[in-house]
């Protein structure tokens, strides 16, 4: 759906708590130009920019005030890459020192987030002390926070004080009956509240918090965990409501549930969504925006460019030993940012990639666009790519995630990414390499081609047997170009006028 630009982004400070009066025409189902401008070069939300900028999360918020059936507070496993799982708890002072040290060593560093390991707003002193110091010492760094939303309404004013760039709220439902099957209890007004009553309070606070942030012009992203049979049918409704209330993006993430994680869902046999189910819901909820399809569910203490974890370089004892000149570092960051901005502008000037139409930059497409099939075209093909920094650069066996592209006559379109296990340290919770390979193939089963830098003999055969053609011929080429080259080759070979062959369907 195309929407006209709406200049008047509401900045009403108060007086209008309910969403009924806050939303303008420009907010419903679309983005205002002001928001679009803010996310266009955003290191987290712009597909172009995320290759160049870096972000990090600091683990300063240990306590949580709700229970989710997909979480087990007992676990903090180094092999784990679920969001919200971190290994090193920091004090606010330590977190600030770490952030400044990282921002001096990696001048692309531009976003600092607090996401856990508990809920940042259940630890308001620690969270706000960190923000307060950073807003003062490194005002050029964007600050963001992720929350379950329970304590959001009472902290909105303080979030505004530190110029928080964006807030992520995890909203799994808007219906307390659904919520009661996801969140067994909350801590509210000095007591533990259970079941539907708890879910009703949580839903109410989340929605109120979302409305208050929108009214104050803070970017809000909503994350939902897709839980098959629990909230899958409900999420399109969630999406409609949160967008109407001003969330600029609704991101659907898959439930990760295995018995050995010790979570309620893992133990009670709740299944995770199949890749195709997830894709369908992401398409329905996120629409056609290119933003955020690259979201990696990064570890909460990850340091570096999205998807590239450099946390080990910045442990506490190493930071202590670092000698950092903060002022000089800020100057360097400014130079780097100017340079990146110039590169992005030049890239745009060279023209859009065939996939994205920027013909009318005043219009943002929030709903899936109906792409008319070109008359002569071959059918679209899904391809998985082991990439780093926009290049086909990763060995299949080392890949921890694959970008999923849809190649068609219209170009290469990034539609998501899938996390897999690479060969892991081998403790009992990880399983052996063989079952990891089986799970990787499961995760990619709807893809017809796999692009990587290199691949071993055995996985090659296993992928082929599953109907996924491995391809190492485009190593170190730009991802979109490689994807389109393979598609053109398939088209020329006449493979795209007939249905996919040899596929083992999910």
């Amino acid at each position: 759906m195309d929407l006209p630009v709406n200049e008047s982004f509401p900045r009403a400070a108060a007086g209008c708590g309910a969403g009924s009066c806050g939303a303008t025409a420009g907010q419903i189902d679309g983005l205002t130009d002001a928001i679009r401008a803010r996310i266009e070069d955003h290191p987290c939300y712009s597909e172009d920019a995320h290759h160049y900028f870096a972000r990090m999360h600091v683990a300063v918020a240990p306590a949580c005030n709700i229970q989710c059936h997909y979480c087990n507070r007992k676990y903090d496993c180094a092999n784990e890459s679920r969001p919200g799982v971190v290994s090193e708890l920091l004090t606010p002072d330590q977190a600030v020192r770490k952030t400044l040290a990282v921002a001096a060593r990696i001048p692309q560093m531009s976003v600092l987030g607090i996401a856990g390991p508990g809920d940042p707003l259940a630890n308001p002193e620690r969270t706000f002390e960190t923000f307060r110091q950073l807003a003062q010492k490194a005002p050029d760094i964007k600050l963001c926070v992720s929350t379950n939303g329970l304590m959001l309404p009472r902290h909105v004013e303080e979030l505004c004080r530190y110029h928080i760039d964006h807030v992520t709220i995890t909203i799994n439902c808007v219906d307390p009956d659904v919520g009661a099957r996801i969140h067994p209890w909350i801590f509210w007004q000095n007591r533990r509240v259970y079941g539907r009553q708890a879910a009703a309070i949580l839903v109410e606070q989340q929605q109120l918090g979302l409305e208050m942030l929108s009214a104050r012009g803070i970017l809000v992203k909503v994350n939902s965990v897709l839980i098959p049979g629990v909230n899958d049918a409900h999420l399109p409704e969630v999406s409609r409501i949160v967008k109407a209330k001003g969330a600029f993006l609704h991101n659907v993430m898959p439930l990760i549930a295995r018995p050995e994680h010790g979570t309620f869902y893992g133990l009670m046999g709740q299944r995770s969504p199949r890749p195709a189910e997830l894709q369908a819901l992401q398409d329905a909820c996120a629409g056609d925006m290119k933003m955020m399809r690259h979201c990696r569910q990064c570890r909460a203490d990850a340091v570096g460019l999205l998807g590239e974890d450099r946390g080990a370089e910045f442990t506490l004892d190493r930071i202590e030993a670092m000698d950092v000149d903060y002022e000089a570092a800020m100057v360097v960051r400014q130079e780097v940012r100017t340079e990146i901005a110039a590169r992005l502008a030049a890239k745009r000037a060279r023209g859009p990639s065939p996939a994205v139409s920027r013909a009318n930059p005043q219009v943002v497409h929030f709903q899936p666009r109906v792409t008319k099939a070109a008359a002569t075209a071959g059918r679209p093909v899904l391809m998985a790519v082991a990439a780093r920094g926009g290049v086909v650069a990763v060995h299949f066996g080392h890949a921890r995630e694959f970008l999923i592209y849809e190649a068609s006559a219209a170009g290469a379109r990034l539609i998501g990414h899938r996390r897999v296990e690479s060969y892991c340290a081998g403790d009992e919770s990880c399983g052996d390499a063989d079952s990891a390979l089986t799970r990787t193939i499961e995760a990619l089963v709807d893809c017809e081609v796999l692009l990587c830098a290199r691949i071993g003999y055995e996985p090659w055969g296993r992928l082929e047997a599953a109907g996924i053609q491995p391809n190492g011929e485009h190593a170190m080429e730009a991802v979109e170009e490689a994807v389109m080259a393979v598609w053109q080759q398939m088209l020329a070979a006449g493979k795209l006028t007939v249905p996919r062959s040899g596929a083992r369907r999910a």
Binding site: P62, A63, C64, N65, Q67, H69, N72, R73, K74, G118, A122, N123, E125, P184, W185, F187, N190, R191, R192, P259, E260, G262, F264, L267, M268, E428, S429, G431
Partner: protein, 92 residues
Amino acid sequence: MAFTIIASCVNCWACLPLCPNQAIQAAQPHFGIKAERCTECAGDFAAAQCASICPIEGAIIDGLGKALNPPGSLTGVPPERWALTQAEVAAR
């Protein structure tokens, strides 16, 4: 009249700021309650604050050694189910 935090505590900090008597200490290897300070929240709150937010079943016990949040009461997972999975994982 005092509660005790035992070894299954995961040091998550949730209880500490809630105690009306500053009885909870961020000790190692796990958090602890100074018995002489703990009033079981009598006179301050209807429910003991530490036990009302603690996410770990069994981590806080009363004077008789009884868990304030018994197995299954917070996660909804039947204890037998968890024991079975742990045995399965160990057997791999």
